[in-house]
């Protein structure tokens, strides 16, 4: 536990001093605010852009507050994930490659504490950023389009945060596994974005999948997801988080010999 505390303190200092604690939440908040604001001012925006014939009227059906919030995680599913990949792809691989990890690895280091300190710090930033973003989005959505019931919003945000924890776990494990940050980013990209695409295209044939967790999260904004499939997907996601993290710890230890001396 002492080692975890020491290493977590180091991770936290890193996130604070290289401003990840600031810019990652800002990106998530910005994209969350953009969605309701853009939707609300869309008619005025189109009008100001001009080129419409005189008397032309485009009528947009007003989106429901639930749709606006669901669109926010639509943005997060690509740009948000890319931000997290870029921020944490070098968490382990970068330290190994630069040699900064050498002075840790030559000590009686617990690789469990080493990996988990990064995992907790990265998840605090990522989940915190998503929650702040969704709260900002919730505020502007309520301001312009009406309020989503708070209970539904919490279920929506909570379920989506579980997906974000899986995302962070995949990125950190890829970083522990791959020799450099670039390859870790490529592996994370394939596992998270490409597999989401595959699940989106072929996923009509199954209802239980970790890649369906974001869409199940969005369904809380309406009637709520089908309970059985939802809970099975959540359970599999939790299992995957634990299994991938365990693999990450093992890879951190196995690849320690590749550190630059």
């Amino acid at each position: 536990m002492t080692q975890f505390r020491v290493l977590f303190q180091k991770e936290w200092r890193e996130n604070v001093r290289n401003y990840k604690i600031l810019w990652i939440p800002l990106v998530f908040i910005l994209f969350a605010i953009l969605e309701p604001v853009t939707q609300y001012f869309l008619p005025q925006l189109l009008d100001s852009l001009g080129n419409l014939p005189d008397g032309a009227v485009i009528e947009f059906p007003e989106p429901s507050p639930g749709e606006i919030l669901a669109n926010i995680i639509g943005q997060y599913q690509f740009i948000g994930l890319l931000v997290l990949i870029l921020a944490y792809m070098g968490a382990v691989a970068g330290e190994r490659r630069s040699g900064t990890a050498t002075l840790l690895y030559v000590r009686p280091l617990s690789y469990g504490a080493y990996y988990m300190s990064k995992w907790v710090a990265a998840n605090l930033i990522a989940v915190g950023s998503v929650l702040f973003g969704l709260l900002a989005g919730y505020y502007y959505t309520a301001l312009f389009f009406g309020q989503v019931e708070i209970g539904s919003f919490l279920q929506f945000a909570g379920t989506y945060c579980l997906w974000i924890i899986l995302v962070v776990t995949v990125i950190l494990t890829a970083s522990a596994w791959m020799p450099n940050g670039g390859l870790a980013a490529a592996v994370s990209f394939v596992l998270l974005l490409f597999m989401q695409l595959v699940d989106g295209l072929l996923g009509a044939y199954w209802t239980v999948s970790p890649f369906k967790v974001p869409s199940y999260a969005a369904q809380w904004l309406w009637a709520g997801p089908e309970t059985g499939a939802y809970w099975w997907s959540v359970a599999i996601t939790v299992f995957l988080i634990v299994a991938i993290a365990a693999f990450g710890i093992w890879m951190s230890k196995k690849n320690a010999a590749k550190v630059k001396v």
């Binding site: 290493l7 200092r13 002075l103 030559v106 000590r107």
Partner: protein, 293 residues
């Protein structure tokens, strides 16, 4: 008492053998120099001793408590941490008691001369300061065994002198194994020499033992003129070599001794500017050992 004993250490990377059947012992509070050209396997041996690399064959037995301190050739630090934060982290991970961490870290930083800079971020440090910080993190937990990979080769002469002096002061209660290809440094702080060549240990022993085996003592006589040097060479049967105004006489069990040389010079009435008994430098010995393989 042995602090560490390595037996038959071998490391292979695929088909390539980086270190082959290397055995040695490190006795308590001694300094051992691991000497060899670049690529001889010095860093690989140190990496195996730190546990970073697993040996393909052989055993490493470390006795006693206190752990290992390690300084890589180019130590890298987290640039956003201050020197004090880094050394404290190193101390805590190495198991220093929480109550002693701050005091021990500050004392160590002051010892290596980084007292005034302890609150500065590592990213702002010069090469010499990084080396001092590297030494501080290696000794903060007061290890019994200190492993140093080329500790001074990247430093300017002043920095080198300062780090060597620090290491000498540590030698009293720490066992030190350091790699180097700067033989002057090895000559200055060594109880035992380990010569590595292409991954193999080609010679080992104390500085005196190695010197006795390879030193080939000689007497060097410097004359005023080259004619006198040639004349002296022709007058005796000692098979010396003449190099302009110098004559170098190899010393064997049959002689000549210094006294014999001085008597001959006095008898011939030759003017000399100097007579000196010399033995091979470590660099000459190293070249000889390297040539043996």
């Amino acid at each position: 008492m042995n602090v560490l004993e390595a037996k038959g250490l071998t490391k292979q990377f695929g088909a390539e053998v980086a270190v082959e059947d290397v055995s040695f012992r490190l006795e308590e509070n001694t300094a051992t120099a691991l000497i060899g050209p670049n690529g001889a396997g010095k860093t690989t041996i140190l990496s195996m001793l730190t546990g970073l690399l697993k040996q393909s064959e052989g055993t490493i037995n470390q006795s006693g408590q206190g752990g290992i301190g390690f300084l890589p050739q180019y130590p890298q630090f987290f640039p956003w941490l201050t020197a004090l934060e880094f050394v404290e982290m190193a101390a805590k991970i190495s198991g220093v008691e929480a109550a002693n961490v701050r005091q021990q870290s500050v004392r160590t930083l002051e010892f290596v001369g980084l007292g005034p800079a302890m609150k500065k971020k590592c990213g702002t440090f010069s090469g010499g300061m990084k080396q001092r910080l590297g030494l501080a993190q290696a000794i903060v937990h007061q290890p019994k065994l200190l492993l140093l990979d080329e500790p001074v080769s990247a430093l300017d002469p002043t920095g080198r002198r300062e780090i060597l002096n620090l290491l000498k002061s540590l030698q009293q209660d720490t066992t030190i194994l350091y790699s180097t290809h700067i033989l002057n440094d090895a000559e200055e702080m060594t109880d035992q020499l380990l010569f590595l060549q292409q991954g193999k240990l080609v010679e080992q022993g104390s500085l005196k033992e190695v010197r006795d085996r390879y030193s080939e003592p000689r007497i060097q006589i410097r004359f005023e003129t080259s004619q006198e040097a040639l004349r002296f060479s022709a007058l005796n049967a000692w098979q010396g070599t003449v190099d302009r105004t110098e004559v170098i006489l190899p010393v064997t069990t049959q002689g000549p001794t210094m006294q014999m040389v001085l008597e001959r010079l006095a008898a011939e009435g030759l003017a000399v500017s100097g007579v000196e008994r010399k033995s091979a430098t470590l660099e000459e010995i190293f070249l000889k050992v390297a040539g043996k393989e």
